[in-house]
Amino acid sequence: MPQTTRPRSRALRLLVPALLLATIACTGTPAGSTTDVQPPHNTSAPQVTGPLCAALPTGTEPGNPTFLAGQPVDQALRWIPTLTTFEAALRTSGVLADLPTGTGITILAPSDDAFAAKFSEDNWDDLMARHTDQLRTLLKAHLIAGAHPIDELVTAGATTTLDGATATVTRTGPTARLADRADAVCADYQATNARIHIINAVLGPLPTTANDTDHRAH
């Protein structure tokens, strides 16, 4: 059963900070527009679900799901604070930009913690700097043609990612589980022509190289 992320009263007490933000947002020069931070009060506001959602911008905070729903997908990804690794990889590899314009997309977006649990820093830098083809294949293992709500993927029971692989999608308690490996920890972010589901593990066939007891020296 999907769970809502915050008590409803939170939206009210966040209204004042949001108004303050609206006044200062005009003075800086952020890359993303923050002038549309007030959510439209309609019934189609996106309902993100999952245990991680509470730790992400909610209500009327900058980067809240309602605001992101009006953003192009590449911009929306930049607002989700736990996706810094994935977003930078998508951007620098050009995978998103290479997609045909106007087509819907579903993004299974591994969190920064997921990447940290998967790749050592050296391995990740090596992928980013020297193995672009391998990186692009890895990223395509997290993209699905068409904008699909998580429930739709669960109903289908399986999906094909853009690397050509098939991933099972099952319901495990309140969350969806992909490829028997990754849970959708905050599902159903919307962006223009897109759905974004944050997952807690990296998909695809690359080996795990992270060693969480090995902290890189400065």
């Binding site: 952020p30 730790a55 990889a89």
Partner: protein, 702 residues
């Protein structure tokens, strides 16, 4: 060396913005319950709130609770345990403090603190309520109103490259105190910018900045560790526009050099390394990459005397702010001691006042970190006689900040703890400027004397703090291996023309700059004589030279040939130098004449008689004495006189040494000093000379 710190308390008090105790009915409660925390206060500063209370007998630790409230003090959110105070957080455990951070600056909160005896919770203190400090700068005042992308997005986004350029350009345009200079370009052609900040204006040239004993902050070398960079950008705005007397006083006594993003390509890609995958903090000695080369040339030209290097750290058991000095054993002892004084003498003490947990690198479960690679900026700077420290921001909330699952809370704590550290760094430099410069001068003279063994890898020990120190384990010993010690240091390294000027493949795309270019970037003296290029060791960076040029170097540029002294002991009668002559611990009774194209390198040597050189390739003297006049004319490659006592007049004239300025530092001249028609003009690296006679023309200020 542990200078007293009491004078700094007044400075830090200025940092406190408000002091608020709650007007809550709780204060009116008459009798305290047993084991209830008493006298809770909160003091606001930029991005954090310092809670302080009276300790409870028998307490194992304390829990800090924060509750969002409205303007009337009515709770608007659930009470949350945001902090755990433990005895190892600070050196003076009788006065517990906790820097609560992570909240949205400007919001109002209620705080309570309770002790725990073991796991048994004791009664909460009476609450305190206060509004936290809003982001710095009046929104209606030009300049002050600027905000970073990170600030406007409430830490949902880091400041992008383009937003950084726009923000720093706006500061430059609106503040007379700030000049943004481009030090170089990244592999992908992003600018490596530096803010040069002084009051009322920054000095106009690098040499003029160098004369102010500047401080340097390197904010973001690892692209996936961006917390310090956001602090640097906020501090740049404060320094540029604040009318606080503390800020204008700081900027009137030094120049602040801030490099927000040396690794712009890695930041954009959120990778540790640059776009070639090179970890730039393993490249500051080798300078294979354009980013590190740009920084090292900056150090050569602007000559910072103190530095900080910002990072984040994945060890969740570490303190808030792990720090570490330059430990490489080739770093001169005064620089190591000064850096340790900055960390343990200043940061530990001020951290205990503000509630931040500064600690040695590693702290708990540190593992094999904090070692002696000279490729790390911390060590490179130490080997360049710069007192400095590593700064880590613990990546996760860790054991003492349980409310950082929320990404914004986590990011804000990291950035505002870095902001606190950088401000404390400036305060330390302001208070200890004289001692820092003395340490630097001593270090330069120690290095130039070229005495003692060379260590190719190996650290000085960091003993546990006696307080006990605010960590549980000091960094690993990291003593040098026997095969990485050279007891008999050479006088110089000789490189062949192929070694010196040959093409290299160790840079981006398989193209590297030459050894000649890298030595020039470091600013070392080089002398060309008939059979090769000589790099003498009696120079200020004596500890670094062998690491790059000796065959024992662990990460070296080339295998230079060790050249040992050719002249030791006593020698009577005139000496005519041709070729490359190295005197060490020698006594020369008689006049010395250096022929055209020849080089004289001397340490620990006494020369009784005049020294004259005309059209020599190089004259490099250190830790020596000359009883007689010294006349150096028309030298072609290098002139250096460090810690030399000269009983007689000194004349430097017509020396044309390319881009490398003649060096006259830390010397005593019992006679007149005349410098004319040298190109470039002589310098002293900020190490003054004592001259008993008149100083004229180019040497008037030396």
């Amino acid at each position: 060396m542990r200078p007293q710190r009491s004078t700094l308390i007044a400075v830090s008090a200025l940092l406190a913005v408000t002091l608020t105790t709650a007007p809550s009915p709780a204060n009116a409660q008459s009798a305290a319950e047993p084991n209830q925390v008493a006298a809770l206060t909160v003091r606001q500063a930029d991005g954090y709130a310092t809670l302080a209370w009276q300790p409870v007998d028998g307490a194992t630790d304390y829990q800090i609770e924060r509750t969002a409230v409205d303007a009337n003090g009515t709770p608007t959110g659930a009470p949350t345990i945001v902090g755990i105070w433990r005895p190892n957080r600070q050196i003076n455990q009788g006065s517990p403090t906790f820097a609560d951070s992570g909240f949205n600056p400007g919001d109002t909160f209620q705080w309570r603190v309770r002790a725990r005896a073991g796991t048994t919770e004791q009664p909460y203190s009476a609450p305190v309520v206060a509004a936290t400090t809003v982001p710095w700068g009046n929104p209606g005042t030009p300049g002050e109103q600027l905000r970073t992308q990170w600030e406007t997005t409430h830490a949902a986004q880091y400041t992008s490259d383009t937003d950084e350029y726009a923000y720093t350009a706006a500061i430059d345009a609106l503040s007379d105190r700030v000049r943004v200079v481009e030090l170089g370009r990244t592999v992908q052609n992003r600018p490596v910018n530096m803010l040069v900040i002084g009051h009322p204006t920054p000095p106009a040239t690098p040499a003029a900045v160098a004369a102010t004993a500047p401080v340097a902050i390197n904010c973001n070398v690892h692209g996936n560790e961006p917390g310090d960079r956001e602090a640097c950008l906020i501090m740049a705005r404060q320094l540029a526009f604040s009318t606080d007397p503390r800020i204008t006083d700081l900027l009137s006594h030094t120049t602040v050099l801030i490099v927000p993003t040396i690794n712009g390509d890695g930041r954009a890609a959120n990778t540790r390394g640059n776009s070639t995958g090179q970890d730039l903090n393993r490249d500051y000695s080798l300078i294979r990459q354009p980013e590190t080369a740009a920084y090292i040339k900056m150090v050569r030209d602007y000559r910072p005397v103190a530095g900080y290097d910002g990072h984040e750290y994945g060890n969740s058991r570490a303190g808030d702010l792990p720090m570490l000095p330059p430990r490489h054993q080739n770093v001169a002892q005064p620089i190591f001691d000064q850096s340790q004084d900055m960390i343990e003498g200043h940061m530990y003490a001020k951290g205990a006042e503000a509630g931040w947990w500064a600690c040695p690198y590693g702290c708990e479960g540190g593992g094999n970190v904090g070692l002696s690679e000279e490729t790390i900026l911390r060590n490179t700077l130490g080997l360049k006689n710069v007192a400095n420290s590593l700064l880590e921001l613990r990546s996760s909330g860790g054991q003492t900040r349980p409310d950082e699952g929320n990404t914004a809370n986590n990011r804000r704590r990291k950035t505002y703890s870095a902001l606190w550290t950088f401000h404390q760094f400036l305060d330390y430099h302001r208070a200890d400027r004289g001692q820092i410069l003395t340490s630097r001068a001593e270090a330069i003279e120690i290095q130039a004397a070229n005495t003692g063994r060379l260590v190719f890898r190996g650290s000085r020990p960091i003993p546990a703090h006696p307080a006990p120190h605010p960590g549980d384990s000091p960094p690993p010993l990291d003593a040098p291996r026997a095969d990485l010690i050279l007891d008999n240091a050479p006088c110089a390294y000789r490189l062949t023309d192929e070694q010196y000027n040959g093409a290299r493949t160790d840079g981006p795309g398989g193209v590297g700059t030459t050894v000649a270019q890298r030595i020039a970037a470091h600013g070392w003296k080089v002398i060309k004589t008939g059979d090769g290029w000589y790099v003498p060791l009696n120079q200020p960076e004596r500890g670094l030279i062998p690491l790059l040029l000796d065959t024992k170097g662990v990460e070296k540029l080339t295998d230079g040939e060790r050249i040992y002294p050719t002249l030791t002991g006593r020698r009577n009668g005139p000496l005519v130098v041709s070729g490359f002559t190295c005197a060490a611990d020698a006594t020369i009774n008689g006049p010395v004449t250096v022929r055209a194209g020849a080089a004289l390198v001397a340490t620990g040597t006494t020369i009784s008689g005049p020294v004259s050189a005309t059209r020599a390739a190089g004259i490099v003297l250190a830790d020596s004495a000359v009883n007689g006049p010294v006349q150096i004319t028309s030298t072609t490659d290098a002139v250096s006189i460090i810690d030399v006592t000269i009983a007689g007049p000194v004349s430097l004239s017509g020396n044309t040494t390319g881009t490398d300025a003649p060096l006259l530092a830390g010397s005593t001249i019992r006679g007149p000093l005349s410098c004319t028609a040298n190109s470039p003009a002589p310098i002293n690296l900020g190490v003054a000379n004592t001259v008993h006679g008149p100083r004229t023309t180019q040497c008037a200020a030396l």
